[in-house]
């Protein structure tokens, strides 16, 4: 035990005296979560739009008012002629133009139908889609309000409700993803680098000749990172609760338990990487290419797994991060308990045991 404390103390000296690793440890999580939370977002907010109102009557005015009253859009320009539409788009600020046809009110009352054209700048297809959906929903709402007065025999009103994230806040989706990436990065990359560093500097040899057991060396090297990763997880959760108002519906204890489980599985991967790489550089490359990319691309963090080709879906099953993201979303957004995520938890436990087993075996072979 005394040996262990001495070892861990030494490990903390290493970490705190290396500014780069300190930055990766604590700077990255904060920077990433803020970046993903604020800058990289699927929501639209205050999108600049222009209006071309050929009709200019009471109803179009009311609709325009509703649109400008919503926080999604701000009307920055009223244009007069069709020809101006193109130039407005080319300037780049305006993302959409609403084009009300002539005699909008008249048509609406007489023919029971009137047209407004929604032109969106589809150089960014996602945003264009979202804008058009938002405008549509404002129009629909207006229509429903008007129709209340009139009795119509049959009306089917679809009422979409987005559960667990009613406002479709993208930060709800990013927080579990970023948390996963950071825990993976800190745990796997940092441990694999710190173990290979001892190999590279020749101190590992000295440790192996000393009475301290290889197993103790590994645990001693890994322990500080468990500790630091837990702190990181806490920072991320606090940031998302207080800055992004993200709810944590489920049990915090369960969240802590699952996070520690994931951290341990990432550490096991880190140890495994360190057994197959001789230098810090290799360890870093393997961690980045072999862990980070799959985590970002295949874990379902950004791209939905169900729309991937079958072979990739298959690969995604082998990525611990995928299961952890499901668990995180379940606990944080849906507020589920262990009874709903026991399968994912078991898979994570299984993977951890497997990685541990392989690295212990590899480690022994390496000692020969």
């Amino acid at each position: 035990m005394k040996r262990f404390i001495g070892f861990v103390t030494k490990e903390f000296y290493h970490i705190f005296r290396d500014r780069r690793s300190l930055f990766i440890l604590f700077g990255m999580p904060i920077v990433q979560i803020l970046l993903f939370g604020f800058a990289i977002t699927n929501e639209i907010n205050n999108v600049d739009i222009a209006i071309l109102d050929h009709s200019n009557d009471a109803i179009t005015k009311e609709i325009i008012n509703k649109i400008s009253a919503s926080k999604y859009f701000s009307i920055i320009q009223l244009i007069e002629r069709e020809d101006d539409i193109e130039s407005v788009f080319k300037k780049g600020n305006v993302k959409a133009v609403l084009n009300f046809e002539q005699d909008f009110s008249k048509n609406l009352i007489k023919e029971r139908q009137a047209t407004v054209q929604i032109l969106t700048d589809a150089t960014d297809p996602n945003t264009a889609n979202t804008i058009s959906n938002y405008v549509n929903s404002i129009l629909k709402k207006y229509q429903q309000e008007q129709n209340k007065a009139i009795t119509i025999n049959y009306v089917i009103v679809s009422e979409p409700r987005m559960v667990y994230n009613p406002e479709l806040k993208s930060v709800y989706m990013f927080v579990p993803g970023v948390m996963t990436i950071i825990l993976m990065l800190v745990s796997a990359m940092m441990t694999s680098i710190s173990i290979t560093r001892e190999k590279e500097l020749g101190t590992m040899e000295i440790l192996l000749v000393s009475p301290i057991k290889p197993f103790q060396v590994i645990v001693g090297k890994v322990f500080p990172y468990i500790f630091l990763s837990v702190i990181n997880a806490i920072i991320i959760v606090l940031l998302s609760i207080f800055i992004f108002k993200m709810p944590v519906q489920g049990s915090l204890i369960l969240l802590a338990f699952e996070s520690i489980l994931f951290i341990v599985s990432a550490l096991a991967l880190g140890i495994l990487i360190s057994t197959i790489s001789a230098t810090q550089q290799t360890a870093m490359m393997i961690s980045l290419m072999g862990l980070m990319l799959p985590v970002i691309l295949l874990s379902g963090f950004i791209f939905p797994i169900s729309s991937m080709p079958i072979p990739l879906q298959f690969i995604s099953h082998a990525i611990p991060a995928k299961w952890f993201i499901i668990i995180l979303k379940g606990i944080m957004l849906k507020g589920v308990g262990l009874e709903f995520i026991w399968k994912e938890t078991l898979i994570l436990i299984g993977m951890t045991v497997l990685f541990m087993g392989i690295s212990v075996k590899k480690y022994k072979i390496r000692l020969e």
Binding site: K2, R3, I5, G6, F7, T9, K10, Y13, H14, R17, D18, L201, G202, T203, E205, I206, L207, L208, V209, S210, P211, I212, L367, E368
Partner: protein, 242 residues
């Protein structure tokens, strides 16, 4: 077993597949002796040493180090030996004192003992000014001396030195050998590999390995007589060229 023989090796062999790295070597080292373990690169001296310090399993033969069997009692051997490699054993980003504390701790020394040893080492080596400096900032020669003292921290019966003086100037090497003599004088057995032939002259006895076998083993004086040359360098050349 003769209690004065701290290392006893009989027919020790290590094979890697078909390749015999160490071929049935036999020798013994006495307590307090400075034993030079010489050989060209690839002659098998590092492999042989790794078996003796318990981090590599021999294929066949027998070996006892500090009275313990390398096959079954490697953990006991580790407690009784010190080791210093040509790469540095110390952590550059730890201070001298922190290094001493860390290695003392690994060998299970008590806090009090570590404190005592730290003071002793600082006095002996004149480290007062640098004790709280990071090791990385010290010159190579200093690092080596501290490294050697750290290897002696837990008062091992035998110290294994793997090319300890690589890359330092002759004066520092000279000082380093004085430290070795002092340790040997206090009863510590020194097992040293080197490829500086002048250093071989400082050893009590020398063994020379050529392609996995020990081809010569005696005092430097007798070896020179046997090969009718005037320096160890010539002994080595004669042997290595067959």
């Amino acid at each position: 077993m003769n209690s004065n023989k701290v290392i006893q090796v009989k027919g020790l062999t290590k094979m890697f597949g078909d390749f015999t790295a160490v071929n049935a070597i036999t020798f013994a080292v006495e307590k307090g002796e400075i034993f030079g373990f010489l050989g060209a690169n690839g002659a098998g001296k590092t492999t042989a040493m790794k078996m003796l310090i318990g981090i590599s399993n021999p294929t066949s033969g027998s070996a006892h180090v500090a009275g313990f069997d390398v096959f079954t009692q490697a953990e006991d051997i580790k407690k009784n030996i010190g080791y210093m490699s040509q790469k540095f054993a110390l952590y550059d980003d730890l201070t001298v004192k922190e290094n001493i504390t860390f290695f003392g701790g690994i060998y299970g020394l008590s806090k009090l003992k570590i404190k005592e040893k730290t003071k002793e080492m600082i006095d002996d080596l004149g480290l007062e000014d640098v004790a709280n400096q990071l090791v990385g900032a010290l010159p190579l020669g200093w690092k080596q001396k501290i490294s050697f003292s750290v290897a002696l921290l837990h008062e091992p019966k035998i110290v294994f030195l793997d090319e300890p003086t690589g890359g330092v100037d002759p004066i520092t090497r000279r000082q380093f050998w004085e430290m070795i003599y002092r340790a040997a004088h206090q009863g510590t057995t020194i097992f040293v590999t080197t490829h500086y032939m002048d250093e071989a002259e400082y050893c009590d006895r020398v063994s020379i390995m050529v392609s996995g076998k020990i081809e010569a083993l005696d005092t430097p004086k007798k070896l020179k007589e046997q090969f009718q040359v005037t320096s160890m360098n010539d002994v080595f050349l004669k042997l290595a060229r067959g």
